[in-house]
Amino acid sequence: MTAASGSAAGPTIVELQGPRSSRFSLATRESLAGFLYISPWIIGLLLFTLAPMIASFVMSFTNFDPRSPGETQFIGLANYERMFRGILGQPGGDPLIGSSLFITVRFAAILIPVTLGFALAVAMLVNSTLLAGRNIFRTLFYMPMQIPIVASTLIWIGMLNASTGWFNKILSSVGVGGPDWLNSVAWVAPSLTIMGLWGIGNMMLIFLAGLQGIPTELYDAVKVDGAGRFSTFRHITLPMLSPVLFYNVIITLIGTFQYFTQAYIIGNGHGDPAGATNFFNFHLYREGWAFYDMGYASSLAWLLFAIVLVLTIGLFKSAGSWVYEAGGDR
């Protein structure tokens, strides 16, 4: 605290006792001022969140097409029927939704552990007291986050090009023949995972904050007990980091279900190669803005919301068993 604010605190308290006689009107005035200041958010919440949510729910029972809004009709549960028949592989369903969900879930299952593990390893590296120039390294590992996704996608398209990219050139220099990464159905998801490593910046900073919050006494204590590096990591670092790990898992999971830009650019807007980049959010975009079936796209959006909500709640429910909370006994 500065000296100025400290000296100001004294007289303030004394003199505020005086004009408190009209306490009620003061409290009301404070409430009104508070509402006035948060009113932009309240208006935004009504206009851009709550009203569109209701409208989107209603729309999911219609065949709304923005090119002919006048012909919109209620079609009951037809959109949801199409969706669930598609997921179950029954006739009359959306033929692409099953694969789009599978592609998204499988990608999440690869991307999340790989990027989290890498982010944690980098955070531990740039947190090490043995590293010279730690701030420079932190900046450099964070930096790719600041490259616009379109630009970084183009860089990786070039890097992973089968004939002119450096990735395969490096592999062939050690005698390994690399695949045609982004044009191969089998290799496109691993390619996107490699690209995802450039997005660790925020995760790394959050892990770093978590690492710096671990009391050094804990490390000193296990050192006395003669614990090795792995055992220290397993029994001190990991449990103490579990809250930030939890946060990172949720944020990445939500992000993966909304994965779009890379899929759009690499798939040339068609899900190339052979539908392998037909991620769920891309599928939704195509239904809405390529085929203008916005009623169906609305029902897909609600499925997306339901999945994200269920996964988030599920993670929160499971948190008790693996997330360490300081003072959790209270």
Binding site: M1, S5, A8, P11, T12, E15, L16, A27, E30, S31, G34, L36, Y37, I38, P40, W41, G44, L45, F48, T49, P52, M53, S56, M59, P69, V122, L125, L131, A132, G133, F137, T139, L140, Q146, I147, P148, V150, A151, L154, I155, I157, G158, M159, N161, T164, G165, W166, Q258, T261, Y264, I265, N281, Y285, G288, W289, M294, L300, A301, F305, L309
Partner: protein, 361 residues
């Protein structure tokens, strides 16, 4: 050095300061080397981007071409141009020589350093040799990409969209965070929880009706849908600023209040100056986010390419020129140069802000 003197009088042990310092030096250099290795591999694609963008496209497919931008070297002798090759000589050395008279099994060469000094005979197949390259930056890719993209217009569009959106996002977030952090009103905690819960709501859930309304208003194809919604406070920004405002001592507000300042005056002359670092962070956050945004410009500016920002225009450029990696990498540099430059500049401002606030508290 003074520190070295004392150990001489002590018996050399495993814990002597010199040994310890040496051990620490080894550990630090080992760790730093490891980090350098990892960060080099991590950022290698950037080197790929820069070198590719300065290459002539023929170099990409040429056999034996170096990894850096270069052109095959030639030498002019008596008005004729001769290509240079890397020639292994019988004495085990290699030299760059100009191919004067090619032959199937043996050729006649000139020394480029001394062409008048006579010819050199060499036995071997010249076609099996690698051409000698010299470094040359080929800048035409940037000229072509600049013109094809109409880059100044894209830059203007992006700056206006990101800039006005930032003004809206920051001013509304300051306002709402001030309301949540400095006033007591009924339902405040419930409303704040509601604000936080909007973070997990996927954009897609509200996007379609919002799009339909903007389309009905005639706003599609304009910048309005990409700017106006940010004037209503975003949950992340409000949360960040509220947390920061809560750390500003209330005594400062009360002192200003005694001087007759109303709530708006307090916000302007107490809160905002105190929270400069956090406000700068929110500015950068939104600016980078808007510069990066792809989905929304894609759907709202579908029919009006002249209003497009860099992100969607560069993606379309990639569709047209996908067979020319040199142009694509030049375009990628043009798309990233400003955000990355701002990041490195703001990095310092950030550090200063943190140091200042640390000194004052």
């Amino acid at each position: 050095m003074t520190a070295i003197a004392p150990p001489i009088t002590q018996p050399m042990s495993i814990n002597s300061p010199l040994r310890r310092r040496l051990r620490r030096f080894t550990a630090v250099s080992g760790m730093t080397m490891l980090a350098l290795l990892v960060v080099s591999a991590f950022l290698l694609p950037l080197l790929f981007m820069v070198t590719t963008s300065f290459k002539d496209k023929n170099q990409l497919t040429a056999l034996g071409a170096p990894w850096y931008p270069a052109v095959p070297e030639t030498m002019v002798f008596q008005g004729e141009e001769y290509p240079l090759y890397t020639v292994p000589l019988p004495d085990g050395t290699t030299r760059s020589l100009a191919l004067y008279k090619p032959g199937r099994e043996s050729s006649v060469w000139l020394d480029p350093a001394n062409p008048e000094g006579g010819t050199i005979d060499w036995v071997g197949r010249w076609r099996a040799l690698n051409p000698a390259y010299k470094v040359e930056l080929y800048t035409d890719n940037f000229v072509t990409a600049w013109k094809a993209l109409d880059f100044p217009k894209l830059l203007f569009n992006t700056l206006v969209i990101a800039g006005l959106g930032t003004v809206g996002a920051v001013s509304s977030a300051i306002c709402v965070a001030y309301g949540f952090s400095r006033f007591r009103f009924p339902g405040r905690n419930g409303l704040f929880l509601l604000l936080l819960s909007t973070i997990i709501l996927p954009l897609q859930v509200t996007l379609i009706p919002t799009f339909a309304v903007f389309a009905a208003l005639g706003w599609t194809g304009t910048w309005l849908p990409l700017i106006v919604p940010y004037f209503f406070g975003n949950a992340y920004n409000v949360f960040l600023l509220r947390q920061y405002f809560l750390t500003i001592p209330r005594e400062l507000d009360e002192a200003a209040m005694l001087d007759g300042a109303g709530p708006f005056r307090i916000l302007r002359s107490v809160i905002i100056p105190q929270a400069k670092a956090a406000i700068v962070a929110v500015c950068l956050f939104h600016f980078f986010w808007a510069w990066n945004e792809f989905y929304l410009p894609l759907i709202y500016l579908q029919g009006n390419q002249s209003a497009e920002p860099l992100s969607t225009a560069i993606a379309r450029f990639n569709g047209v020129y996908s067979q020319e990696p040199t142009l694509i990498q030049a375009a990628a540099i043009m798309a990233m140069i400003i955000p990355v430059a701002v990041f490195f500049l703001a990095q310092r401002a950030f550090m200063r802000g943190i140091v200042f606030s640390g000194v004052e508290k």
